[in-house]
Structures are given as structure tokens and as C-alpha cells.
Amino acid sequence: MFTNRYIFIYSSVMVIIVAAILSTAAMVLKPYQERNIAIAKIQGVLLAADIKANTENAETLFDQVILEELVIDQDGKVTGRFSKGQLTDGNDRAFDLNLKKELYNKRQENPYKVPLYMAETDSGKIFIIPLLGKGLWGPIYGNISLKADMSTIYGAEFGNDKETPGLGAEISDRGFALQFLGKTIFNEQGQFVSITVKKGGVGTMPADARIHGVDAISGGTITSDAVTKMLENCLENYVAYFKSQQ
């Protein structure tokens, strides 16, 4: 009762209508989605500075707290400065850098740039470093902040998209991030050692290394190792800059 002609026309019309609906929806919703993503990014940066922001006040708080945004190249040189709403040096704003692209450039051994935020808190100046890495099923990300000594961790925050709920996804839990507070990324000789997320717990590490380690998530070993790798891969980009500042 349905001819082939009818079937072809029916399916073509259906596909065109569905495509139109979906692309309209994507276009209409895009500004909202992009704003959500930007706000989530701001909230992450602020959380690493130990400031809880909600969707309404995130942007104002960010403008108040962040003194300066720096763009740092692979040699530790500052190639862009942004403060008080305007660029004061270079042409890049740190907030607009695509970390994923920059880390890809790093892997390809091309020149790359990384963002660094400076903020003023009750306990002095802090440096906030955005993190991005590969988890077990998808990206993991976060922000970590260092005190004025550029080694002691002031705050940390982690997030994930696709890690196993209840296992790897627990890295997003506040309790996991709070373990990082007070740990150091440089040892006493001033060498960069990063932070290790240790399976079996910090207790199994040598006593002098415990200040550079936190407990892994039980059942989430691969994600925990991914956090270790992410920390090393992202933090090492700033070592040259920090050395030049001391």
C-alpha cells in the first residue's frame, strides 16, 4: 500500500524536518551553553582559590579576586598580561587560551602557551593553574593553586566527564581535592617533583616523600594515575617561570 516513491519522499522529508529542528535547537541554545561552560570554568578557577561561586555571582567574583592573568610560553617567559579588564602586554588573554590545543602542541613538540591566574587572598598572593588530562573514559580537568612560595598548594579542584560513578568519578569529590592542601610540588632541593596520587595510600610512601603525595581512590586506580599524570604534565610547564621569579 505504500509505494517505494512514497517511502523515499517520506524518509527524506522526515530527515529534513528533524535536521531543521535539531539545528534550530542547537543554535537557540548555544549562547546559554557557552555561557554555562564559561561560568563552569570561572567557578573552577575560583574554587581552587577556595571561593565558592554560584552561577549568578561567578563573573563579578572573578573580576574582583583575579589580579592578573598571565600567558606563559614554553620557556617560562610571559607573553601576555591581562588585568583590570584590559590587555597590558601581548595579544593573548589567558582565559581565552584553549588548554587542550596548547597541550596538544606540547605533545607535538611545537611552541605552546599556558595560562596562569594570580589572585589576592587573605593569606597572600596565590597562583592558580588550570589542569587538563586524560582519564579512563574521557577528559579529567581541574585547577590547582599555589601559595606565594610557588610550591605549597593552597587549593585544588577536580572534575571529570565520564569517569565511573562511585569509583573514578570520586576525584570530583571535595574530600579528594582537600587532601592536596599544604602539599608541595618542589622538594627541599628545589627540584620539581609534582604530586603523586598513591595507590594504597600516602602511608606506603617513604616518609620524606609524603609531602608530595595524596591517597588514591579505591577502585579508581586508573583515574587516580591519570590525575598524577595530569598534574605532572600541566605543572611542569610553569617550572621555568617559577624559577625565574625566585
Binding site: 505504500f2 517511502i7 524518509s11 530527515v15 528533524v18 535539531l22 541554545l29 554555562n36 577502585g219
Partner: protein, 221 residues
């Protein structure tokens, strides 16, 4: 909505109400028809994603059943499965986009799971078994009923898995922290509860309880 006028039945007549209520028990998609098990295992480690998943499935199933029922006489039988899939996929993408725009936090938690609604066999099962042969209003009720039949099982399973596996409910700790062995207590979370196999066993327990209460569900053999 002219269809229900010709039917001359009140919107919530006993017959229609049955469409809403039987999927909750006697014809439950998960415990009786054993459909949609895969997503029931994947999203029930925590209560919140399970709840949002139930709501999302309800939206897709309610609207999808209406669309299919409205189109049912125009759909060529030879390509009906493709048409159903296109409708499901389009609705799921819409739900995903709307969540991303207006409930960003929840959508971040659910990212993978929302896509999984497409593969939920309950939805296609209802399109094929009910909406293709019924009018718009009963199809809508059938969709909502089945989505709740799926949803409440999800929520019950997630409740027990989160409570026993993580010691929390909706993210709030309910087991006193002094009970834990780490703090000198006697209690420890059962890590196995957050792994998928325990979801299967929990669903099995629900099926057991349900058949104990409703002996007509027990097959003869």
C-alpha cells in the same frame, strides 16, 4: 487532541488509568518484561543521576509516543523501525541540549547516560507495541506509565546502592562517620555495591519480592 473526542471517554477513565498503573507493577518494563536492564545497571550507582535519568526517559517516552501515535497511519511499515529510531534519537539530542543549556551541572554528571537513552529498548518497545496501534492520548499515558515503571525501579535500586556502597543518600552522608573502621568504628562501605553486578542482584531481589507478593507472575514449569 480531536482524537479523544471521537473516543468519547473521559481523559482519566478506568481504562486509561490502567495504562498508567499496570507498568508500575504487573507489567513493569524492568522486573517483568526485563527490558532496559543495561541502563538500569549503568546509572544506579548514585541516586541523583538515576532520578534525572528517570525524568529524561519520561520526557522522551511521553513525547515520542505522542509523535509516533500521531504519525502512525502515515509510517510505511517497511521503514517503521528507522522512523522510530529517528524520533528517539532526535528527542534524546534535544533533551541533552536542553539539559546542557539549563541544567549544566546535572548534564555534566549524566553526559554518557543521556545518550544511552537512545539504546533503551523500553522506548522502542513501547513505540512498536503500543503507539503504532493506538491513539495519541492513550499512547501518551502509556509512555508516561512505562517511564515511571522504569524510573521507580531505578530510584529504588540507586537508593540501596548509594546507601550501602557509598554511605550517602543524594550525596549527603547518612552513616555517622564515627562508625567507619578508619575512625575506629566497625562499619565499612561495601565497594561491590557500586559495581554493575550488584545492580543486577538488587534488581533480582526486587523481582523476587514482587513475585512473592503477586504469585500470578510466576511462570509454570
Amino acid at each position: 487532541m480531536s482524537t479523544e473526542k471521537t473516543e468519547r471517554e473521559p481523559l482519566f477513565s478506568p481504562k486509561y488509568r490502567k495504562l498508567l498503573t499496570t507498568p508500575l507493577g504487573r507489567e513493569n518494563p524492568i522486573t517483568v518484561q526485563v527490558l532496559g536492564i543495561c541502563s538500569a545497571l549503568a546509572v544506579t550507582a548514585k541516586l541523583e543521576p538515576a532520578f534525572v535519568m528517570a525524568i529524561s526517559v519520561m520526557a522522551v517516552m511521553g513525547i515520542g509516543n505522542v509523535v509516533i501515535a500521531a504519525l502512525r497511519n502515515t509510517i510505511p511499515p517497511r521503514i517503521r523501525i528507522i522512523v522510530q529510531l529517528v524520533v528517539i534519537a532526535a528527542l534524546v539530542i534535544l533533551v541533552d541540549q536542553v539539559l546542557k543549556a539549563f541544567a549544566y551541572d546535572v548534564s555534566k554528571q549524566l553526559s554518557v547516560f543521556v545518550g544511552l537513552i537512545i539504546t533503551n529498548c523500553i522506548i522502542m518497545g513501547r513505540f512498536e507495541a503500543f503507539a503504532m496501534a493506538n491513539k495519541v492520548w492513550p499512547s501518551f499515558l502509556d509512555g508516561i506509565g512505562n517511564a515511571w515503571g522504569y524510573g521507580w525501579i531505578l530510584i529504588v535500586v540507586a537508593f540501596f546502592r548509594e546507601l550501602l556502597g557509598s554511605g550517602t543518600i543524594w550525596g549527603y552522608a547518612v552513616i555517622p562517620s564515627s562508625w567507619y573502621i578508619d575512625n575506629g568504628g566497625f562499619y565499612s562501605n561495601n565497594g561491590m555495591m557500586i559495581l554493575p553486578p550488584m545492580a543486577l542482584i538488587t534488581v533480582g531481589v526486587i523481582i523476587w519480592v514482587q513475585r512473592k507478593k503477586d504469585t500470578e507472575l510466576i511462570e509454570e514449569n
